[in-house]
Amino acid sequence: MNRTSRLERGGTPPLSHAPSGEETSSIGARMRSRLEAYGFLSPAVLLVTLFFFIPVIIIFILILSDLKSANFGTLQWWLPVNWSLENYAKIFGNKFFPKILGNTFFYVAVTLTLFIFSSALLIAVLTTHINRRAGFFFRVLWLLPRLTPSVIYIMMWQRMASRAPHGILNQLLVPLGISTGGDLIQAAPWLFVIIANGMIGASFGMVIFTSAIEAIPKDFMMASKVDGASTWQTIRHVILPSIKWPILFVITYQTLSLLTSFEQIMLLTDGGPGLYKTEVWALTAYHRALSNYFGNNQWGYGSAWAVILVIIGVAAASIYMRVFKFDELVQEPKIDLL
C-alpha cells in the first residue's frame, strides 16, 4: 500500500498510458497555456497598438500631407493623391531653419555638458566623499527642482528674475552694477533657459552616478589610496572608468530627452524674446502643429518637424554608442583557466 502510493507520487509514468493519448493531451495543455499567455498580454498589446503603432502610422501619413485646421474635413489626407514632400521643402527652405537648428544644438550641448553631465557627476562624487547623511541631504535638495511642477518651477524663476525692485536677483545684481534693473530673462534668455533646465536634469545623472559610485567595491578605493593616489587621482583613474557604462547611459538618455523637451522653454520664454531667439526644434514642432497663429494648426507640417527630430535623436544615440564602444561594454569577459 505504502509502496504503491510512493511510486505514484514519484512520478514514474504508468505504462498503460498510450503515447498518442499523452501527446494530444500535452498539445491541448500547451495550447491552453499559450492562450492564457496571450490573454494576459492582450491588454498591453491593445494599448500599444491603439496609442503607439496607429498614431505612428498616422504621423507617417500626416508628414506627407498638408493637413491643418483650415482644411480639416475637406482634405482627404489619407489618399496618396494628396501626398508630397512639400513639408520638407518648407522646413529646409524656412529662413529660420538654420537658427532653430543652431539653437537646438546649442541648448542640448551646453545643458548636457554643464549640468546633466558635469554637475551631476560633481554632485555624485562630492556627496559620496562626505559624511553619508550630509551627502544624502544635499542629494535630496537637488531633487527638489524635479519634484516641483513645471509651471510653479518656471514661475519661481520668473519671479526671481523679474524687474527691480521685485526680483531677488536684481536686488543683488543692481547694487553690484551687473544689471541695470530690467527683466533678466529678457536680458539673458539663454542663461535662464539652460540653468532652469539643467537644474532639473542634473538630478537624474546624480542619482545614477551616485548609485554607480556606491557600487564600486571599497577595496578598489582602498587599493588606490594605498597605491599612492590622491582623492582626485582615485576619481580620475578608478571611479570614472568604473562608471563608464552609467555615463554612456545618462548622456544618451538625456540627449534624447533634452532634444524632445520643450515645456520649460515654452513657459519661460516661449521661444523669444523676439523672433526665434530661444526657439528649439521640439518647440517649433509644437508651435507649428498645435499652437499656431489664428488657431491654424498645421498638423502635417508640425509632424514633419517632429519626425526629423526623431531621426536626429537616433543618429545621436548611435554616435554615442560608437564613441563609448558599447559593444565592448556588453561583451562577456574572456576568462581562461590556468
Binding site: 567595491p217 577595496d219 578598489f220 582602498m222 599612492g228 578608478v238 569577459p333 590556468l338
Partner: protein
C-alpha cells in the same frame, strides 16, 4: 622600518573594532595577525595602512607618529583578499599604477614593471585584463603592484583565502621566501592558523578587538597564555578537561571522575590547591598505551597519516591522534597514556594560563 602600536583603539560609536592594542614590529620582521572573523585584525591593519583613523592611541613608523598621515604618504604596499585589481586596466597598468601616480618616466616605469613581473613570473600576462587571468595569476599581479614602489611596509589582508588549497600552499611558500629575500617589514592578516604559524616570525592572536598573545609560533603552541589561544592554535585543537590538582605522597595528581594522571611537579605545583582548573593537552600528546586512563572509542576518523579518534572518558571526551596500523574500531575500550610533560593548566574564571602568565 619598525612599526609600533601604542594603546591603539578604533571605535564606531559603541562598536569596538580594536581595543587598546600594544605591539612592536621589528625591522624586516614578518608578523601575522591571527583570529576569527570580527576579531579586529583587519581593522588594525587598515589603521596601519591609514585607511581608518585611530580613535585612540598611536601608530609609529620608526618612532614617527603617523596617525594622520594619508595612506599615499606612508610608502606601504598592500595585497587584498579580493586582489582589488582595477578591472579596466591591464596587468601592466595595474602593476605600474603606483609609479604612474608618482609621475615616473615611462621608460623607468616599464623597466621596473618588467623586473617585478619577472620576479612574480607573470611577464607573459602583462597585456591581459584581470578578467582574463586566473585567481593565482591575479594574486601575483596584486603582489607585483604592492611591491613595485619598493615599500617599507607590506600589508596582506587574507591574500590566500580565495585560492584553492594546492595553490595556497605554493603561494604561501613563495610569499614567505619573497619576504625574506626583500627583507621588508610585513604584516599578514589571516584567520588560518596554519598560515600564521608557518609564515610569521611572530603571531599576534586577537579576539573581540583585544590582543590575546604576541609571540613566536612555537612559543604560541607550547606556552599558550590564554585558554582562547590554546584552543585556537593547533589542529586538531587542544583537549580541555575540568580537573582538580592535588598533592599526594610528593606527586601531583590531576583528577576527575574516571581520570587520574600524575603531572610533573613544576607544572603541577602551579595548579595545585586552586580548586577546579582546566587541564589542556594536545591530541598528539595522548597515546594508546598499556597503562593509564581507560575510555571507550566513540568515533574513528582516518586522516591518512594518523587516525583522529574521539574517546569518551566518563562524561568527558578527548581527541587522540593514533597510529592507523593499530586498527582501532568504534566502541572498543582503550587505555590512554598522557604525556603530562606537555599539559597546560588554565584558571576557569580568568581563562588565563596558570603556567605562563606572571
Amino acid at each position: 622600518m619598525k612599526v609600533k602600536l601604542e594603546n591603539l583603539s578604533k571605535r564606531w560609536g559603541k562598536v569596538v573594532g580594536a581595543d587598546c592594542i600594544n605591539l612592536d614590529i621589528g625591522d624586516g620582521e614578518f608578523v601575522a595577525f591571527l583570529g576569527p572573523s570580527g576579531c579586529g585584525k583587519t581593522t588594525t591593519l587598515l589603521m596601519v595602512a591609514g585607511i581608518y583613523k585611530p580613535t585612540e592611541g598611536y601608530i609609529r613608523f620608526d618612532d614617527r607618529v603617523v596617525n594622520y598621515l594619508a595612506p599615499k604618504d606612508r610608502n606601504i604596499g598592500m595585497v587584498f583578499q579580493s586582489y582589488a585589481l582595477y578591472p579596466h586596466m591591464t596587468a601592466f597598468q595595474n602593476i605600474s599604477y603606483p609609479l604612474k601616480l608618482q609621475k615616473t618616466p615611462k621608460e623607468e616605469m616599464k623597466k621596473r614593471a618588467q623586473k617585478v613581473a619577472d620576479m612574480m613570473d607573470i611577464g607573459h600576462l602583462m597585456d591581459r585584463k584581470p578578467a582574463q587571468l586566473s585567481g593565482g595569476q591575479q594574486q601575483r599581479v596584486a603582489l607585483g603592484r604592492a611591491l613595485i614602489k619598493e615599500p617599507q611596509l607590506l600589508l596582506f589582508d587574507e591574500p590566500l583565502s580565495n585560492l584553492d588549497a594546492r595553490l595556497r600552499l605554493t603561494m604561501r611558500a613563495e610569499i614567505k621566501r619573497l619576504q625574506v629575500d626583500l627583507g621588508v617589514t610585513s604584516v599578514y592578516v589571516t584567520h588560518d592558523q596554519v598560515e600564521a604559524m608557518t609564515m610569521a616570525d611572530r603571531v599576534a592572536v586577537m579576539k573581540e578587538g583585544k590582543l590575546q598573545a604576541y609571540s613566536p609560533p612555537d612559543e604560541l603552541y607550547d606556552q599558550p597564555r590564554t585558554l582562547f589561544v590554546a584552543g585556537f592554535v593547533g589542529s586538531p585543537p587542544m583537549n580541555f578537561l575540568d580537573v582538580e590538582v592535588v598533592r599526594e605522597n610528593g606527586d601531583y595528581h590531576a583528577r576527575r571522575k574516571g581520570f587520574d594522571a600524575v603531572v610533573p611537579s613544576d607544572r603541577g605545583e602551579k595548579a595545585a590547591g586552586k580548586g577546579n582548573v582546566i587541564l589542556g593537552i594536545r591530541p598528539e600528546n595522548i597515546t594508546i598505551a598499556n597503562v593509564g586512563v581507560s575510555g571507550e572509542i566513540y568515533v574513528v576518523e582516518p586522516l591518512g597519516r594518523d587516525d583522529l579518534i574521539t574517546v569518551h572518558i566518563g562524561e568527558a571526551s578527548v581527541h587522540v591522534l593514533s597510529d592507523p596500523t593499530l586498527g582501532l574500531r568504534m566502541g572498543q575500550t582503550v587505555t590512554l597514556g598522557f604525556n603530562t610533560h606537555k599539559v597546560q593548566f588554565f584558571d576557569p574564571q580568568t581563562e588565563k594560563s596558570l603556567l605562563w602568565m606572571d
